[in-house]
């Protein structure tokens, strides 16, 4: 019986120091049979050591594609990636395949959503773990195997020695996901990217995995990008949150700011649409859920103005229909927001600027 450590003990991420990863104006355009699709349209963010940045959005919002693009995992024939992504000062997007291969592993580890399809079913767990280790580090077979066993023990797999010789189908979903995390961590990456890593898991197993990632973050100072659609998970682990819609970042800031003082109508709609576990379930008298009408836009046919305009319940500014509102600092009334110069002043909890791409007034929605 382990208990999750309470809030007070959670060491906040260091705010100072240069970022581990700095993404600037990342754009991804895919060639599709229905014409070009702007799947990611100008994304900028930074991740510092020991910090967890959550990227939230619904399916098709471009959240997965944006990280696949960083690691050069999109097919080059159909995808055009522009922008800059500096990992420790080096641009990931400008790297050749060989350099990129060196970086994946010690630089960036990635955990994919479905551990059944991302593990090789015909190779033993030990083989899949040592493959990366031996490719990146000069280790003997025996030493790599020892290291693999340590890694499996670290991610909390029962009987790590025995697990080395087992195959993915012999493990449960939670155990497979632990193996995936062990592989991602095998070369001690400075940055861990998890794409819907707990979505396929039961809540009790999810709690175990979240605990594990939290421990790694605080013990090793790993920077984490956590991609999810689950705002509940975000609240538990994220220092900063970035909300994506239609390939754009519509709101970002500290988890506190974004989840408790959302400013963009989409973020508000998303939070309002969540059934509340704590809500009094007086028989039949539960209030209707607030919904966001309609469905997300197709990336091949984005609206000309604000990406959210067709579904927006507010539409308080006539410009929205034809013009994309810029991501601008919002936040506490005390910090008079004028223009870009005031961004430092608008910094919320933990020195993180709260920004939203909206012209809506505070009270609207």
């Amino acid at each position: 019986m382990s208990r999750r450590s309470a809030a007070g003990e959670r060491a906040p991420a260091p705010v100072t120091g240069s970022p581990l990863l700095e993404v600037e104006d990342l754009r991804v355009r895919l060639r599709t049979p229905r014409g070009p699709a702007d799947v990611v349209g100008g994304l900028s963010y930074a991740v510092r050591a020991g910090e967890t940045v959550a990227v939230v959005g619904e399916s098709g919002s471009g959240k997965s594609v944006s990280v696949l693009a960083l690691l050069g995992l999109l097919p080059s024939r159909t995808a055009t990636v522009t922008g800059r992504a500096l990992l420790a000062g080096e641009d990931l997007l400008a790297m050749g395949p060989r350099r990129l291969r060196e970086v994946r592993g010690p630089g960036v580890g990635m955990v994919f959503q479905d551990p059944m399809t991302s593990l090789n079913p015909v190779l033993s767990v030990g083989r899949q773990l040592t493959e990366g280790l031996r490719a990146h580090e000069d280790l003997s077979r025996a030493a790599a195997r020892d290291r693999a066993r340590e890694l499996l023990a670290e991610v909390g797999l029962p009987d790590p020695r025995g697990a080395l010789d087992r195959y993915p189908h012999q493990l449960s979903g939670g155990m497979r996901q632990r193996v995936m995390i062990a592989i991602a961590l095998s070369c001690s990456p400075s940055l861990l990217i998890a794409d819907e890593a707990t979505t396929a898991l039961d809540v009790t197993v999810q709690a175990q995995i979240l605990d594990l990632v939290e421990r790694l973050r605080s013990e090793h100072g790993t920077g984490v990008i956590w991609i999810t659609h689950d705002l509940g998970v975000v609240a538990g682990i994220a220092d900063r949150v970035l909300v994506m819609y239609g390939g754009r970042c519509v709101e970002d800031g500290s988890a506190e700011d974004v989840l408790t003082r959302p400013r963009h109508p989409y973020t508000r709609g998303l939070l309002g649409a969540l059934p509340d576990l704590a809500e009094p379930g007086a028989d039949g008298e539960v209030p209707e859920l607030r919904t966001v009408p309609g469905t997300p836009p197709q990336p091949t046919a984005l609206p000309p103005g604000c990406v959210f305009w067709p579904r927006c319940p507010v539409r308080s500014d006539p410009r929205c229909e034809h013009e994309q509102p810029p991501l601008a600092a919002v936040g506490r009334p005390s910090s008079a927001v004028s223009t870009s110069a005031s961004e430092e002043g608008a910094a919320g909890a933990g020195g993180v600027v709260h920004r939203a791409a909206t012209w809506c007034e505070e009270e609207a929605g």
Binding site: M1, S2, R3, R4, A6, A7, G8, R10, E58, S59, P158, S172, G173, G174, M175, D202, V203, T204, V205, Q206, A207, Q208, L210, D211, H229, D230, L231, G232, V233, V234, A235, G236, A238, A255, E256, L259, T260, L270, L271, G272, A273, L274, P275, D276, L277, A278, E279, P280, G281, A282, D283, G284, V286, E288, L289, R290, T291, V292, P293, T295
Partner: protein
């Protein structure tokens, strides 16, 4: 038999207007091995479930993957054959039904499936999909009557009747799920089993479908068995909640009682593991993290099935199989020795 059933149900009020009554239901799948494919064991997917579903209510059925909740939902409509126990639907024994009786049952009891991408025939138009049950059951005969009824059904679930000629691939996930619901409603059922009906939908679309299900219930007086792994959704929609673990219902009761004051350690762990979108609450709370995984239903632990992972395990748990007993709020039952040791055999004894 009724006396036994009453005792087994351990206090599920006999007076309530029960639409679906389940007693000792078992669904065991044989495990075959060896050259002769001899039966060497059984996966006990559903293993002795007692449950009442009252007319007009929503009973939420929650549990982790592999706990048997979908199998239970399917067994109620005999989409899988139960291997033991009883199911009665509106007083009628479901297990003894003839082919014709079964057809009537499936008109009165419908099913909404999880994956609207897999459960709609890609080669049928929406109108054909929705009209198929009408044909099967011989309802609204005549082409015009059927087209009218199809239009009504589409309107009922919030789709424009003009889309009747389109194919499933032209719709989004949420719209497809609406088509699935329209099809389930075609036979004018009293009872719907919704098996993870919103699990594959995005949050904003999920809310639309949940609101639709609630509106339809009020409008048509439907009874729901809402099977889901998502406690927040179940809590939102249900009047009562039943929690399943390894083929058994381990706790059942009013949604408010089970949701706020669970009496079984497993329910407590499950609830504490649900993340909520409130950073302050998330960081401050003590989460009960269970060790290990759910044991295999082919090798169910002795005694209480949860004892291998239970944080509060004590003496009798490994040996005595607990029966549901009334604890906590009125109508709340839990199978846990913390509230006094009552074994399955004790609970059976008075009637047999």
């Amino acid at each position: 038999m009724t006396a036994t059933s009453g005792a087994r149900a351990g206090g599920q009020e006999a007076g309530a207007d029960v639409l679906v009554r389940v007693r000792g239901l078992e669904v065991h799948f044989p495990v075959r091995s060896g050259l002769l494919r001899r039966t060497t064991g059984a996966v006990r997917a559903v293993d002795g479930v007692d449950l009442d579903i009252r007319r007009g209510e929503t009973l939420g059925l929650v549990g982790e993957s592999g706990c048997g909740k979908s199998t239970l939902g399917n067994a109620l409509l005999r989409l899988v054959e139960p291997t033991g126990g009883q199911v009665s639907f509106d007083g009628q024994d479901v297990r003894g039904l003839s082919r014709r009786g079964l057809r009537t049952l499936r008109r009165r009891a419908g099913m909404v499936f999880q994956d609207p991408f897999a459960s709609l025939d890609p080669r049928l138009t929406v109108a054909q999909t929705v009209a198929e049950p009408l044909e099967v059951h011989g309802l609204h005969e005549g082409r015009q009557a059927r087209a009218r009824r199809t239009g009504e059904l589409l309107e009922l679930v919030g789709l424009d009747p003009a889309v009747a000629g389109r194919y499933p691939h032209e719709f989004s996930g949420g719209q497809r799920q609406r088509v699935g619901i329209a099809r389930a409603l075609a036979g004018e059922p009293d009872f719907l089993v919704c098996d993870e009906a919103v699990a594959s939908l995005d949050v904003s679309v999920q809310a639309q479908v949940l609101n639709l299900l609630r509106r339809l219930q009020r409008q048509l007086g439907l009874t729901y068995l809402f099977v889901s792994h998502d406690l927040s959704v179940v809590r939102h929609l249900s009047d009562r909640i039943a929690v399943m673990y390894l083929g058994r219902v381990v706790e059942v009761g009013p949604a408010s009682a089970v949701g706020t004051d669970p009496q079984m350690p497993y329910t407590r762990a499950l609830l504490s593991a649900v993340p909520t979108p409130d950073p302050a609450a998330e960081r401050g709370r003590q989460r009960v993290v269970l060790r290990g995984d759910v044991p295999s239903p082919a090798a169910v632990p002795s005694g209480c099935r949860f004892h291998t992972r239970c944080p509060e395990v004590f003496d009798p748990c490994a040996d005595v199989d607990p029966a549901l007993q009334p604890v906590g709020a009125p109508g709340q039952l839990a199978a846990c020795h913390l509230h006094g040791v009552v074994s399955q055999t004790d609970a059976l004894a008075p009637g047999t």
